[in-house]
């Protein structure tokens, strides 16, 4: 009984339908457990969490140096509602090279131009609060913390204009914190 103490010996091994369900449920749990190591070795989308300690000032200096060396143009925002990012430098890293994006209230700086099919090491960090790197319309999402240089080894496989949205609350201008990646 659910409400009264049990007095009789109550231990029984599962049997019948219950045993069947236990077996099926356990089997399904094994399938799910094996999917993640399988994808880690055979799949192409994995978050391995590669990261290095960095101070915000150092990261900003590295980003600025990267922009200076690789600047190829300027992005001018045409979305009227988003006045926070009127203009961004566009930087194009060499294929296989390092690219930097700094998150701060309330912009992703700079914009990037990438080549389809090439692989890049994208460094992400924040200067002030935690931010969320959300690449739209692909819908790929990564966490960005101050003090951590988060390295994503990415290979763009589709061309077009991609918008980086911040999806970790970072204050009043959070909804308008956007950045750009152009893939050609």
């Amino acid at each position: 009984m659910s409400l009264r103490p049990l007095t009789t010996p109550w231990f029984h091994a599962p049997a019948g339908h219950e045993k069947l369900w236990l077996g099926l449920a356990l089997l399904w749990c094994f399938v799910m457990s094996l999917m993640m190591p399988y994808w880690h070795f055979r799949g192409k989308q994995n978050s391995t969490g590669e990261a290095y300690a960095v101070t915000p000032a150092d990261f900003l200096a590295r980003t600025e140096k990267f922009v200076e060396a690789n600047r190829v143009g300027t992005f001018r925002n045409t979305v009227e509602a988003n006045a926070l990012v009127p203009e961004l430098p566009i930087a194009e890293p060499p294929p296989g090279g390092d690219a930097y994006i700094t998150g701060r209230m309330w912009q992703w700086w700079p914009a990037l131009r990438l080549r389809v099919g090439e692989t890049y090491r994208l460094h992400l960090s924040a200067l002030d609060l935690q931010h969320g790197f959300s690449l739209q319309p692909l819908n790929m999402n990564f966490q960005v913390l101050p003090g951590y240089d988060h390295v994503l080894t990415i290979t763009p496989t589709s061309k077009g204009e991609f918008t980086i949205v911040c999806n970790e609350f970072c204050g009043i201008g959070h909804h308008a914190m956007t950045g750009k990646i152009f893939v050609e």
Binding site: A25, W39, A51, Q130, H175
Partner: protein, 572 residues
């Protein structure tokens, strides 16, 4: 009722102990426990109403066409909503459930009135303090308050007070269990309701200790006494509080499922050993689920993520899958023993669907399992999380577990507990009969709206999606569904609160020895015999069909997500 030995000082049958015998159930009720069940439940429902009003404002803001609140108030009310719902409403109600589970089913009296007062006082002070600071605009930091985002010190102090107050209440629960056992207030093993509540209490202790470990240095940092804790460290420990606390809810909710199915239909667990093992699995493995929130974080390795989310995590999932079978199986057997044996699902159609506690329980099982469970396990898969982290899919998931599952089950419980503890019959019983349906429908719609908008990339905790200029009409449509669902759910919640408060003031008094009005129980048909199917292990035909259907839905959703993941850019 068990007759306790004369030496038993802690049993309600001992001379000089304040108690009463419930006129409806024949169970003995400890008057001290009853007072604190009342206090905690009523305060819990007040916080539920506050959180619900906040929910309505939020739904009407994310519904992009209405877009009600300005940005600063949206984030303020979002913080307020999370704290009131996930911490205050649920913790107060759970303390009430704990006090019930350690006294009434064990024929025991509450260990200490003083301890209960201290616990209640600290929780209430902390709760009011946190709410005040948020509304004063001093803590727009969201439920998670991720560092280095900083709130007013009183915000952290308030949460610490609530956590410590709850720990003291949990101590009262364990002390009651211990003394009741020592004084032999009952004989045999504790009933499954108490067992489940004990599991919830054990997880609560681990959870609240995480809360103390993370909130105390944050409080001292906010006062300027200590350096800033590392943000990644904060996230790790915070989720030991954040995700685990929701597992306290799961344990309490499952206990309520067992309790209500027993009270309404006379259902009992098919196999006590299996049900209890499942609760133990929660205790052992659930802490690993905290890793869910760090799946796309820097500095956390793939091995750590896979270990925490796969191998051991799924043993906690297994526990939920076990309860998802044993609860309906218990109901099916009880119904078949009453003579409702027609076909595979004849027992389902014969259930007393007009009984709000039954509909709340069934809806809670279905919404929690089919929507919350399936989405939760999928989103918590290491790699799939890449396409879901911090999007609206996440609140789409936890609103069906915590609101559609736990809150709905607690509402169902209230339809029995209020008449039994406050000794007043419910007013407007016709309205009560459709309240769980309205609430369940609203929450389901809202969750669909959130989940689909989230899979289109709409992020959570964002005041506006038009500033980005990238979301099309489909995303706006799903946000509209979110808004409409939110309004319906709020109406369901408001109905519930008005029914409860109205009953406390205007409900017909149930005197000593009078039974409460029946919500609806299926009568036993001629020729039926209680306990006749106790040894028939193949009597749960309907349940096995339903659970296999569940597994099929699970597998389809799970692999569809892998397919969606395979379509995005390669990343390591």
């Amino acid at each position: 009722m068990t007759t306790a030995p004369a030496s038993s000082s802690h049993a309600l049958t001992a001379p000089g102990v304040p108690g009463r015998v419930c006129g409806t159930t024949g169970l003995s009720v400890c008057l001290d426990a009853q007072r604190f069940i009342k206090l905690n439940a009523v305060v819990g429902i007040v916080f539920l109403l506050l959180g619900g009003i906040a929910a309505l404002l939020l739904a009407l803001t994310r519904w992009q066409t209405v877009h009600l609140l300005p940005a600063d108030w949206f984030y303020r009310i979002l913080t307020f909503h999370g704290i009131n719902m996930l911490i205050l409403w649920i913790l107060f109600f759970e303390v009430a459930i704990l006090y019930f589970a350690c006294t009434t089913p064990l024929n025991a009296r509450l260990f200490s009135r003083k301890v209960a007062w201290v616990s209640f006082g600290m929780m209430l002070t902390g709760g009011v303090m946190v709410d005040y600071i948020i509304l004063a605009g001093q803590a727009d930091v969201m439920m998670t308050s991720y560092l280095p985002l900083l709130a007013h010190p009183l915000f952290y102090l308030g949460i610490i007070l609530v956590a410590v107050g709850t720990l003291i209440g949990v101590f009262n629960f364990f002390a009651t269990l211990y003394v009741a056992k020592r004084d032999q207030a009952y004989t045999g093993s504790v009933p499954i309701v108490t067992f489940g509540a004990t599991a919830a209490a054990i997880i609560a202790v681990v959870t609240l200790l995480h809360g103390a470990i993370v909130m105390i240095p944050t409080f001292t940092y906010s006062m300027g006494w200590t350096p800033q804790p590392d943000p990644a460290w904060y996230r790790l420990i915070w989720w030991g509080l954040g995700h685990q606390s929701q597992q306290v809810n799961v344990c309490a909710m499952v206990s309520v499922w067992y309790l209500l199915s027993h009270v309404i239909l006379g259902a009992r667990p098919v196999n006590e050993a299996v049900c209890r093992t499942a609760f133990v699995l929660y205790i052992l493995f659930i802490n690993l689920a905290s890793a869910h929130h760090l799946l796309v974080d820097p500095g956390v390795g793939a091995t750590w993520k896979i270990w925490n989310t796969s191998y051991a995590m799924y043993l906690a999932v297994l526990a939920s899958m076990i309860h998802g079978f044993t609860v309906p199986a218990g109901i099916e057997i009880a119904m078949r023993e009453k003579g409702y044996t027609r076909g595979i699902f004849g027992w389902v159609t014969a259930l007393p669907w007009k009984n709000p506690a039954l509909s709340a329980t069934v809806l809670s099982v279905i919404i929690f399992g089919f929507l919350g469970g399936i989405t939760g396990v999928t989103l918590g898969t290491q790699q799939i999380n890449i396409i879901a982290h911090n999007t609206l899919r996440i609140p789409g998931h936890f609103h069906v577990t915590v609101v559609g599952g736990t809150s709905l089950a607690f509402m169902g419980l209230a339809y029995y507990v209020i008449p039994l503890i406050f000794q007043r019959d419910f007013i407007l019983r016709g309205v009560a009969r459709w309240q769980p349906w309205l609430f369940g429908l609203g929450i389901t719609l809202m969750s669909f709206g959130m989940s689909f908008a989230g899979s289109m990339g709409v992020s959570r905790r964002s005041w506006d999606i038009d500033a980005q200029g990238i979301y099309g009409p489909a995303a706006h449509l799903w946000l509209g569904v979110l808004g409409i669902g939110g309004v319906l759910a709020f109406l369901g919640l408001l109905t519930f609160v008005l029914l409860c408060v109205g009953t406390l003031f205007f409900g017909r008094k149930i005197g000593a020895g009078t039974a409460m009005s029946d919500w609806g129980t299926p009568p036993a048909l001629a020729g039926s015999a209680a306990g006749s199917l106790a040894q028939d292990h193949y009597a749960t035909k309907g349940t096995i069909v339903l659970t296999i259907l569940f597994l099929a839905c699970f597998a389809v959703y799970y692999f569809a997500n892998w397919k969606a993941l395979a379509d995005v850019w390669p990343v390591r």
